[in-house]
């Protein structure tokens, strides 16, 4: 059997969804032979592969860098899964959306910061006006909300893809 080429991507999130992925515990061992982890923050690969079967994206889209990455992943992936609340509805990163960026940076790096450091300017991408859920930027095939989504739900989704079942038949998951 051909192994499923899987990628996991970490955008503006806390990596909690990746932790939940690892939380599959011994099930990981069962799935491992059927999967090929082609790209992930968990493995040492710098470039996104030309083609993967399934991409799990964690996090909201908050910077132009996130946006470009999401588009690249979409272009090179057969199926894209929004993994977790941040990718599905913006979640915590989107809580900044009620402020505009100048206000936000001032609040965080001046008003609430020690000293008068001001916002960092080097080696950080600028912010998009809003932190967006993934589907506002690219097409998404499956949403797995949850903060984080339970490991069992990730297993269920992976199994469904491996078995070629309809993703729409998967049970809905709860936000939060």
């Amino acid at each position: 059997m051909k192994r499923l080429r899987l990628a996991t991507i970490w955008l503006d999130g806390c990596s909690g969804c990746h932790m939940s992925f690892l939380d599959m515990d011994e099930l990981l061992l069962e799935l491992a032979p059927r999967l090929e982890l082609a790209y992930s923050p968990l493995v040492d690969r710098k470039e996104f592969p030309e083609q993967v079967d399934l991409a799990l994206l964690e996090g909201a889209v908050s910077t132009p860098e996130d946006e470009a990455k999401a588009r690249l992943v979409r272009a090179r992936s057969h199926l894209v899964v929004a993994l977790g609340d941040c990718a599905c509805n913006g979640n915590l990163p989107a809580m900044r959306n009620r402020l505009d960026n100048a206000e936000l940076l001032d609040l965080v790096y001046r008003q609430q910061a020690e000293g008068e450091a001001g916002p960092p300017t080097r080696n950080v991408p600028p912010l998009l006006p809003h932190s967006l859920p993934l589907h506002r930027v690219i097409d998404v095939d499956l949403f797995l909300p949850g903060c984080p989504p339970p490991a069992a739900a990730i297993v269920r989704a992976l199994t469904a893809v491996l078995e070629g079942r309809e993703l729409s038949e998967l049970p809905t998951l709860k936000f939060g």
Binding site: N97, R98, T172, K174, G176
Partner: protein, 241 residues
């Protein structure tokens, strides 16, 4: 209130008996037929505002809210079909898009009617863009708090405060998207002289908009099963006067 004319109607193809002063929602529940609701709460006057409990009635040009529609002899009610499900879903999405509903950091995470409805109706993302309002949080009350960003304007708090507690501390100000729940003259809740501090509003709030202080995410459990009893007692008292 009891003893109205008895009529028969069909709900989802099942024959049901009902008294004419009952609502379709009540009849459906008596017969074990589930209709999702949000602004409705047993023991409070229904308002038909949230539109989640819409059902189809044969011959009606558009779906009607089950919580305020009364049965008519021979009425044929459909409580569930793909179209209704689609409409309810979209309405819920509108509601979720209107506020800032971040379940992960909400005190009622796991005990929230809105969250539960999203699960039931299959909402796992929003097709419409979120509006990200910037609404004031009122933490002036010593025991309770109000985060208007989580409010869905169901007006349960307004009703329980007016109808049962009799204080009428809460009402809705403004209109449209600017509508929001206020206490007294839009004062901080802690300064509202009419508030008795009974906390019924907190208990009936379906979301984390009204909460008890000192609870962290996931700790706040709402208790409102006693409401119908309060209503009945109140009615009895009034009748006895």
């Amino acid at each position: 209130m009891s003893g109205g004319r008895v009529i028969t109607l069909q709900i989802d193809g099942r024959d049901c008996g009902a008294r004419e002063e009952q609502t379709i929602l009540e009849v459906a529940r008596e017969n074990g037929i589930y209709i999702p609701t949000l602004c409705h709460l047993n023991g409070l006057h229904p308002v038909g505002g949230c539109r989640i409990c819409l059902v189809e009635i044969a011959g009606a040009p558009r779906p009607l809210p089950a919580c305020v529609t009364h049965p008519v002899e021979g009425m044929q009610v459909t409580t569930d079909n793909p179209e209704l499900r689609r409409q309810r879903r979209l309405i819920l999405e509108l509601m979720l898009a209107e506020g800032n509903h971040i379940c992960a950091v909400c005190v009622v995470n796991g005990h929230c009617e809105l969250q539960e409805l999203a699960l039931q109706l299959g909402v796992d993302h929003l097709e419409v863009p979120a509006l990200y309002p910037s609404r004031e949080v009122d933490a002036s009350h010593p025991r309770f708090g109000l985060d208007r960003n989580r409010c869905v304007l169901c007006t349960r708090c307004v009703r329980v405060c007016g109808e049962i507690e009799g204080a009428h501390t809460w009402d809705v100000m403004g209109r449209g998207l600017q509508a929001m729940v206020i206490s007294d003259l839009n004062q901080p809740w802690g300064e509202a002289e009419s508030c008795t501090g009974c906390g019924k509003c907190v208990q009936v709030c379906p979301t984390g908009a009204l909460f008890e202080k000192g609870k962290s995410a996931g700790e706040m459990v709402k208790r409102h099963l006693h409401l119908p009893l309060l209503t009945a007692m109140r009615r009895e008292e009034e009748a006895g006067e």
